[in-house]
Symmetry: C4
Subunit: 122 residues, 4 copies
C-alpha cells in the first residue's frame, strides 16, 4: 500500500505575529489514496517538557486533509502554544503521505516553506 | 531506469489572490532523462469530494516540463479551483523525477516553496 | 530505532544583513523520539578551508532541539562566520531526525526555506 | 561511501528580474566529505531543445561548493538563459550530497526555496 503509517517533522513553530489578512500558521497535509478512511494522530514534542498527544483528525478514503496546526484542539480543548519550538509525529492507521508547510506573516509580505515529512516505516 | 512512475504531493493550493505582475501559481516540474517520450497523468484529491482525473501532459525524451497547475485544463476544459486545498498524484508511463513548487503573491512581495514529490514505486 | 545517526546538509549560509525585528539565521532542528538522551555533534565544511568541529549540543529523551546556528559556539567560544557558504554534518549517538531551515531578513519582509537533511546511514 | 554520484533536480529557473542589492539566482550546493577531490559535471534539460552539457566545477576533498548557476559558464563561455524553465542533472566522480536553492528578488523583498536533490544511484 502506498505511503507510511508514521512520519516525523522536527521543525515545528507557530510565529507569534501576523500582518495583513493572512494568519501565520502551519499545516500538516495528509494524502490518503486508499479506499479506507484513515485516523490521523498527532503528537507534539518540545524542548523542555513531555510530549502532548490526544490530537486525532480523520482523513477519508481517497481524500486529502490539510490540518491547520494553529486551529487544532485536543479532547480537552488544548491547542499548541505560539512562539515555542516543537516537533511533530504523525501516525495513521492506514498508510498515507505527509507534507509539512509553514506560512509566516510576521513581517509585511508573507514567507512560505515546505518539505515532505520523514517516513519512519513502510 | 532513473526515476519513478508514480509520485504524490499532499500540499496543493492555488492562492486566490495575486499582487504585482506575477500570478500566484503552482508548478509540477517533471524531468525525463530517458530516450522515450513520457505521458504525464495528473489526478487531484480534495478534502470533501471525489478525485478529479483526466489531465494528461506530454514530456518528451530528454526534456523537462514545468506544468503550471493554474493553467492546466482537462479534456472537458475544466481547471483547478483557487482557494481550495488539494493533493496531487502524478503518474508517468516512463520513469521520471517530480518536484512541486508554489509561488504565492497574495501579499506584496512573493513567497516560494518547493519539495521533491514522494515516489511511490521504482 | 527511528531515525539516523548521521545527517548531511550542503546549503548552509548565514546572511550578513537583517532588517526589522527578526535576525537572519539558520536552525538545525533535531527530533529524538527515544527514551535516551542524545548528544548532537555538528561539523561545518567550507569552500576554502578545513572543516570546523567541536560543537556539541544535547537533545534529551523525547525532546526536540532547534539549534540556532548563529548563536552556536564551540568550546573555545568560536562561532560561524556570516556571509560565507558552508555545509553541515550532524552526528548523534542516538538515532534522530534532522531538518534544516533558514530565515533571511536581508530585505524588508522575511524569507524562509526548509528541507529534511540527507540521512547517511540507519 | 556517503552520498551518490548522480542527482536530479526538475525545477530549475533563473528569474528575469531582480530588485534591491541581491540578484535572483539559483545555487547547486555540493558537499564532499571524502578525502578525494571531486569533479562535478552539470547537464541542463529544457522543454523545447536538447540538453546542454560541458559544465564542470571542482569540489575539493572535505569541502563544500555552492555553485551559482547564474554565473556558471561552459568551456565556450555559454551560460544559462534567464526566464526559461530547465532541469538539472549533477554527476560527480566521488559520491557527494546535493541540495538546490533559489533566491528570487523579482519583487521587493526576496523569496527563497530549497530541497535536497533526488539521488539516482548509490
Amino acid at each position: 500500500m502506498i505511503g507510511h503509517r508514521k512520519w516525523l517533522i522536527p521543525d515545528g513553530y507557530l510565529p507569534e505575529r501576523s500582518t495583513g489578512e493572512l494568519v501565520s500558521h502551519e499545516a500538516v497535509c495528509v494524502l490518503n489514496v486508499h479506499d479506507e478512511d484513515a485516523a490521523i494522530r498527532l503528537t507534539f514534542y518540545f524542548e523542555d517538557r513531555e510530549p502532548m498527544s490526544g490530537f486525532v483528525v480523520p482523513c477519508g478514503a481517497r481524500r486529502t486533509r490539510h490540518i491547520r496546526l494553529d486551529q487544532l484542539r485536543d479532547d480537552a480543548g488544548r491547542g499548541l502554544p505560539r512562539g515555542v519550538p516543537y516537533a511533530i509525529v504523525v501516525e495513521s492507521d492506514v498508510p498515507v503521505v505527509v507534507q509539512h508547510s509553514r506560512m509566516d506573516t510576521s513581517q509585511p509580505a508573507l514567507a512560505l516553506f515546505t518539505t515532505m515529512a520523514y517516513p519512519a516505516e513502510a
